[in-house]
């Protein structure tokens, strides 16, 4: 077996994970090079290659697959460097992207300006046409007017065109006609038609997705084909795949055609990694996946072995940013991390965040001029960080600076620095506990019946007390935790989704129309599968879902179809029952007296091109390792104690470590809370036992 490479390019670091022929994972990190992403990737590859006794090109040459995760599209949107894009919509509705869907943070907060539309009004054009809710033509397309608009687009040198008309999901004729005109009069200019990209009800979501997708096309086409060329030139002969927000990956040409799916693909891969880690440890299919970075804390879920999806994913803050509109892996992000600033409010209470020192200037101990006490400074004061071994010794820290800023905050409370630092950790934990609570409650997942998989460089500082508070007994923290997303790519499938909007309800179920929609979905999935290189003989899983709700509800729930086609009344009843059960799980109530409405029908296909890294068969022998050092650390439970310090790379499978203790891996640190314990599994994961003794 050859090597398999996965690459996750983050804002700061590029993570490379390589699976070797023996089934071992190796990590390499390098700074992301935004001017030319390939340079950072090569640097990180070189780190792994040298550990394997190879050169970078030799490693590439010996690799069969490379999965590439990119934040290029996300960065382009955030920095407003997307293509000059025209937005074409139905006459009378030019403001759709401005008006959005409403919603605002804080009823008493009047400090925020209203956000700008994704495409400015001067680049939005109305087309004289109107389709009605039943697909009927209310106003025929005015071809002359439409051609005049498109001529104007040519004259003004637009680089991309987004077309989203009202009710194109019920009758796409007008969008198709506009597409043909663009082909004719704007040859070579990429465009997106809403009914083809996201055939879902709700005009703002469809328009937003269409606008974002079109605006990314020129850029992502250049980036992805350029990346492929660079890799080929460097000697890579294998299969290049790109990760997507659906928690899978696809070939380059698919994502050149639909670049929107590369948005947020990094966070979407963390639950994939979590699912694989839980499966490798035989810990079950309900997983809470936490990824702790320097400034954000991401939470995702796996339920019954399946990823959890949402249509309510935003670029930027919810309501203030732009909705992505496609179905993406549900990952919630809060602004909390090592950089969150601690302060004392006017009522005398200790607060943590929402302000963050970020990575620049960063925590005081970074020595870059940060003067505010942060969570990282608190961890430093408590003794959890070895100033000489942080991030594998690559960044040397200033513990005196942490002591100074935490000390002066502690004085205002009349406390010791230790007490205040421990309080900062507790309050920071609360923000994360609430974030986990919200997503698990929303999805009807009980943390007590789930396992947590923790990743990100800062996860190990506080995941044990968080799990204990949530009543979750077990945390899996992979040795490769700091590169969770890249690890997820090693376990990912090719994932593709097809959607049709076909509104009906249980009172007058339109069997023929729904079956026609399901036919169309399965045809699209099958065509995708047939067109996929290297997929013959691969394992395929298909699932059909419908976004459904009770009559007059506004928000839908994903409900899995219990069968592939609707036969008759019994099937409709079974489908309704599947919805009742979903509704009851999420909202604790069911209303059998109500009709159920079905809005969008979806099919999702997962094709396994390669298997997840195998679990090692060696059994681990339980033993108590000898600490490599001792250091004074402070814990709320015990006060100051001489604490055992273990160097992670020296630990063997089966190592059992009782808290209090610190385990230092090159890219992550694990604090084993007093009274709790950790073991290192044969698969190379730390299993953190978080149930209090006697429980």
């Amino acid at each position: 077996m050859a090597y398999r490479i996965s690459v996750d390019t983050g804002g700061t670091f590029t993570d490379v994970v390589v699976l070797d022929p023996d089934g071992q994972l190796h990590i390499g990190k390098a700074l992301t090079t935004h001017e030319r992403i390939f340079d950072g990737m090569q640097a990180a590859l070189a780190v792994v290659a040298s550990a394997l006794g190879l050169t970078g090109p030799a490693l590439l040459d010996a690799s069969s697959t490379l999965v590439y995760g990119t934040t290029r599209a996300t960065n382009a949107v955030v920095t407003k460097r997307t293509a000059r894009t025209a937005f074409l919509t139905t006459q009378g509705f030019r403001d759709t992207l401005t008006l959005k869907e409403g919603g605002k943070h804080g009823p008493h907060d009047y400090t925020v300006d209203y956000p700008d539309p994704y495409i400015p009004r001067r680049r939005s054009f109305e087309i004289a046409e109107r389709i009605g809710a039943d697909g009927e033509v209310v106003l025929p397309l005015d071809h002359a007017q439409a051609r005049a608009v498109i001529a104007l687009l040519a004259e003004r040198r637009f680089e991309a065109v987004a077309v989203s008309l009202l009710w194109s999901i019920a009758n796409p004729a007008h969008e198709l006609a506009l597409g043909a005109m663009i082909e004719e009069h704007l040859p070579g200019v990429p465009y997106t038609l809403s009914h083809q990209l996201v055939p879902i009800l709700r005009e703002y979501r469809r328009a937003s997705a269409t606008a974002i997708d079109a605006s990314l096309k020129p850029l992502m086409q250049a980036h992805l084909t350029g990346m492929e060329a660079d890799l080929r030139a460097a000697g890579f002969r294998g299969d290049l795949l790109v990760s997507t927000s659906a928690g899978g990956c696809q070939h380059v040409e698919e994502l050149v055609a639909r670049p929107i799916h590369t948005l947020k693909s990094g966070p979407a891969m963390a639950p994939v990694a979590g699912r694989a880690a839980s499966a490798a440890e035989r810990m079950g299919g309900n997983v809470i996946v936490c990824d702790t970075g320097g400034t954000t804390f991401d939470v995702g879920l796996v339920r019954d072995g399946s990823l959890v999806y949402t249509r309510d994913s935003w670029l930027g803050q919810r309501w203030l940013g732009d909705i992505i509109g496609t179905s993406t892996v549900d990952v919630r992000s809060i602004g909390a991390g090592g950089g969150s600033i601690a302060w004392r409010d006017a009522g005398g209470l200790l607060r943590v965040g929402p302000q963050s020192a970020g990575s620049n200037p960063g925590p005081a101990c970074y020595g870059r001029g940060g003067e505010h006490p942060t969570v990282t400074d608190a961890a430093m004061v408590l003794g959890y960080i070895d100033p000489g071994f942080f991030n594998g010794g690559r960044l040397s820290l200033d513990p005196a600076a942490s002591a100074r800023v935490i000390g002066s905050l502690a004085e205002t409370f009349g406390q010791s620095a230790d007490e205040t630092a421990a309080a900062i950790m507790t309050i920071a934990n609360e923000l994360m506990i609430k974030a986990i609570g919200e997503i698990t409650v929303n999805e009807g997942l009980n943390p007590r019946e789930s396992v947590i998989v923790a990743g990100g460089g800062a996860a190990g500082f506080n995941i044990m007390p968080i799990a204990r508070e949530l009543g979750c007994d077990t945390v899996i923290l992979p040795r490769t935790a700091s590169a969770l997303s890249a690890c997820g790519m090693q376990a990912s499938d090719i994932v593709f989704e097809a959607t049709r909007s076909r509104f009906t309800d249980t009172a007058g179920f339109d069997v023929a129309a729904v079956n026609a929609a399901l036919d169309a979905i399965e045809e699209e999935l099958e065509a995708f599968r047939r067109g996929l290189r290297g997929a013959s003989g691969a394992r395929v899983r298909t699932e059909l879902l419908v976004e459904a709700r009770y009559r007059a509800q506004v928000w839908e729930l994903d409900t899995r179809l219990p069968f592939s086609r609707i036969g008759g009344a019994a099937d409709i009843a079974a489908l309704a029952e599947a919805f009742h059960q979903t509704h009851e799980r999420v909202y604790a109530v069911r209303d059998e007296g109500s009709a159920v409405e079905f809005v969008n029908w979806k099919g999702r296909i997962a094709i396994t091109l390669f298997d997840a890294p195998p679990a090692p068969d060696a059994a681990a022998t339980s033993h108590a390792p000898t600490p490599d050092a001792r250091r004074s650390c402070y814990f709320a439970e015990t006060g100051r104690v001489e604490t055992a310090i273990f160097r992670g790379p020296a630990l063997a499978a089966g190592a059992a470590i009782a808290g209090p203790a610190i385990i230092e891996e090159p890219t992550t640190t694990i604090v084993v809370t007093p009274g709790l314990s950790a073991t290192l599994s044969a698969a190379g994961n730390y299993i953190l036992h978080c149930a209090p003794k006697g429980a």
Partner: protein, 596 residues
């Protein structure tokens, strides 16, 4: 004297309670049936202590913030000695602390070791409450009998976790589209029951003694925050007046409303005097104690730091004076409070938040757009596509523009002052699917906003038409005669209007309060109002004016005439730019003219 609670534990416990009310909110929002709850977000959730003090409100409508403690107190009084675990109570009595009859309030007493420690409260605006007209808002209601709402004064609706079916049957017998009401009932009750489970876990985890200490200290903490904030305000006596729209043939001059606010930084108290207001009126415009006080409290919080805790602790620093009998906060039975949370309450929010601007630049807010216009009408009829099945619902398709603040421009999707932007807008496609009507156009209105250093948000305009049978729209808009006012030199916004356009194209302006039945071929056009500005328009940064012109919110002419900003180039070819020299000269000129 017990030792004070560890402040870290206090933070943790406060965080847990906040998590509980957020879970309540999410449950209600997503499970509710009617658009008025799930889209317009006309609901709120909170936790009240066992001795009837507001402890933890969710991020809900400001107009629900005050009064739930009166409702829980009444529940305990009416059922003294007979309240137990498994009970749930329904209250919508505007004379008993509730906002108005349309708000069905579900209360679940929460017990720990036999002691009633909390009451969880979910308040939802129902799409229909059995009124004599097909709308839960009835402006012209002469009295409660004419209004016709079923009123439940703290009535037990569940015992041992099971419905008291008599009450449910009563509702089903009188409320239009009863399944919709029942779905919302399940959602509201489900929300209060979710909180019950979580609060029981909370009490088991921390124990009753710690929970009680937490409550006492959390109130003290909240009061300290409030004291600190009020101490930083100048001493002042503010008097501000405003006027509601006229009511054809009944209140030709509208109602003049007065809010007096005395700020005493030394005592760290804000005293609000609402007594100088007109007596009750024989229409549905009277405001309940709960609604009017909430409107004013919400507006005061708009003028204070944004993250102040809102609970009985911070409320200790607010004192209220009411009239014996008045349209503001002092209704006398049987006057109707049908519109208690909107019309007069909207004006009270505006009057109060803009009063604070009298303290000087940097304080208070301009007035926000008011009135539930055509895009927010209650529509009803029979759907020809569904065999004539009846429908009734409030839409949320277009909204008023929000007020400017000292630092930010107005929020576009504001709705009305008592909703404050929290609602979701309806999707046009969803509304066309659910109702037999079509939206012909929906857009922002150029040059409608109140100019200022910070600009109010522009108005919106919408055209609606039936696609089959007649559609009846009930519009009770208070925002078509008195526009939202600017403050601190900011200009007023513009008022809204409702038009009916006949099949032949003739336009006719309709009264601000109207019930109109539209035939196929006729169009209902609604223009909403735009928010007032804050500070002088000539002080607006030219870059912001450029943005407004590029987005089409302001015209080049208004930019020149009102903001004194001159441009070169054109919008369409992306060459529009501020002419710095000409702008400087024009602004100097305008300042001089002004000074002269």
């Amino acid at each position: 004297m017990t030792a004070p609670l560890d402040p870290v534990l206090m933070s943790v416990m406060a965080n847990r309670l906040d998590g509980i009310v957020r879970e309540m909110t999410n449950t209600l929002l997503r499970a509710a049936r009617s658009a008025v709850i799930s889209s317009a977000r006309d609901f709120s959730c909170c936790l009240v202590t066992g001795d009837d003090q507001l402890l933890a409100p969710a991020e809900g409508l400001p107009v629900h913030i005050f009064g739930c403690h009166i409702q829980t107190a009444n529940m305990r009084r009416y059922h003294e000695g007979d309240i137990r675990k498994g009970d749930a109570y329904l209250d919508n009595d505007p004379y008993g602390g509730n906002t108005h009859p349309a708000d069905h309030t579900f209360m679940v007493p929460v017990f720990h070791e036999g002691e009633h420690l909390f009451t969880s409260v979910a308040k939802c605006h129902m799409a229909d409450i059995g009124n004599s007209i097909p709308s839960s808002y009835f402006v012209l209601a002469r009295d409660v009998y004419h209004e016709g709402a079923l009123v439940f004064p703290g009535v037990r609706i569940q015992r041992d976790f099971r419905n008291i079916e008599d009450i449910v049957r009563m509702c089903r017998a009188r409320i239009r589209v009863p399944d919709q009401w029942y779905g919302d009932y399940l959602a509201g009750l489900g929300s209060a029951r979710v909180a019950e489970r979580r609060l029981e876990e909370f009490c088991t985890k921390y124990g009753a003694a710690t929970v009680k200490r937490f409550i006492a200290e959390w109130f003290d903490y909240s009061e300290r925050r409030m004291i600190d904030n009020i101490r930083r305000l100048p001493r002042a006596q503010l008097v501000n007046k405003g006027r509601s729209d006229p009511l054809e043939g009944i209140l030709p001059g509208g109602l003049e409303l007065t809010v007096k606010i005395e700020i005493d930084p030394e005592e760290a108290m804000i005293h609000v005097d609402l007594s100088d207001n007109p007596p009750c009126v024989d229409v549905g415009l009277n405001t309940s104690l709960g609604a009017a006080t909430s409107a004013v409290v919400g507006a005061i919080f708009n003028a204070l730091e944004k993250d102040l805790p809102r609970n009985a602790g911070s409320f200790r620093r607010l004192r209220f004076t009411y009239a014996e009998e008045s349209v503001v906060a002092a209704p006398r039975f049987p006057h109707s409070c049908s519109m208690g949370t909107t019309n007069v309450s909207e004006r009270l929010v505006n009057i109060t938040q803009s009063a604070f601007a009298q303290l000087g630049d940097g304080h208070g807010l301009a007035e926000g757009g008011t009135g539930l216009g055509a895009g927010m009408a209650v529509i009803s009829g029979k759907d020809h596509r569904r065999g004539g099945a009846p429908f009734v619902n409030r839409m949320m398709l277009s909204t008023n523009g929000g007020p400017a603040s000292p630092v930010a421009d107005g929020w576009v999707n504001y709705a009305i002052p008592v909703i404050a932007g929290l609602m979701y807008r309806d999707s046009i496609e969803v509304d066309e699917l659910k109702h037999p009507l079509r939206v012909n156009a929906l857009s922002l209105v150029q040059d409608s906003a109140g100019a200022g250093r910070r600009r109010g948000a522009p108005a919106q305009t919408i055209d609606l038409t039936p696609t089959g049978n007649d559609v009846t729209a009930v519009i009770s808009c208070d925002g078509q005669h008195t526009p939202p006012r600017g403050v601190a030199g900011g200009q007023d916004g513009t008022a809204g209007m409702t038009l009916r356009i006949g099949a032949n194209g003739d336009e006719a302006r309709l009264p601000n309060v109207v019930q109109v039945t539209l035939r196929k071929g006729e169009v209902l056009r609604g223009r909403d109002s735009a928010g007032g500005g804050y500070g002088r328009p000539l002080a607006r940064e030219p870059a912001r004016v450029l943005h407004d012109v590029l987005e089409g919110w302001e015209s080049r002419e208004k930019a020149r005439d009102v903001y004194g900003v001159v441009f070169t180039g054109e919008i369409d070819d992306e060459t529009l730019a501020v002419d710095e020299a000409a702008t400087l000269a024009l602004r100097r000129d305008k300042e001089n003219t002004h000074a002269a």
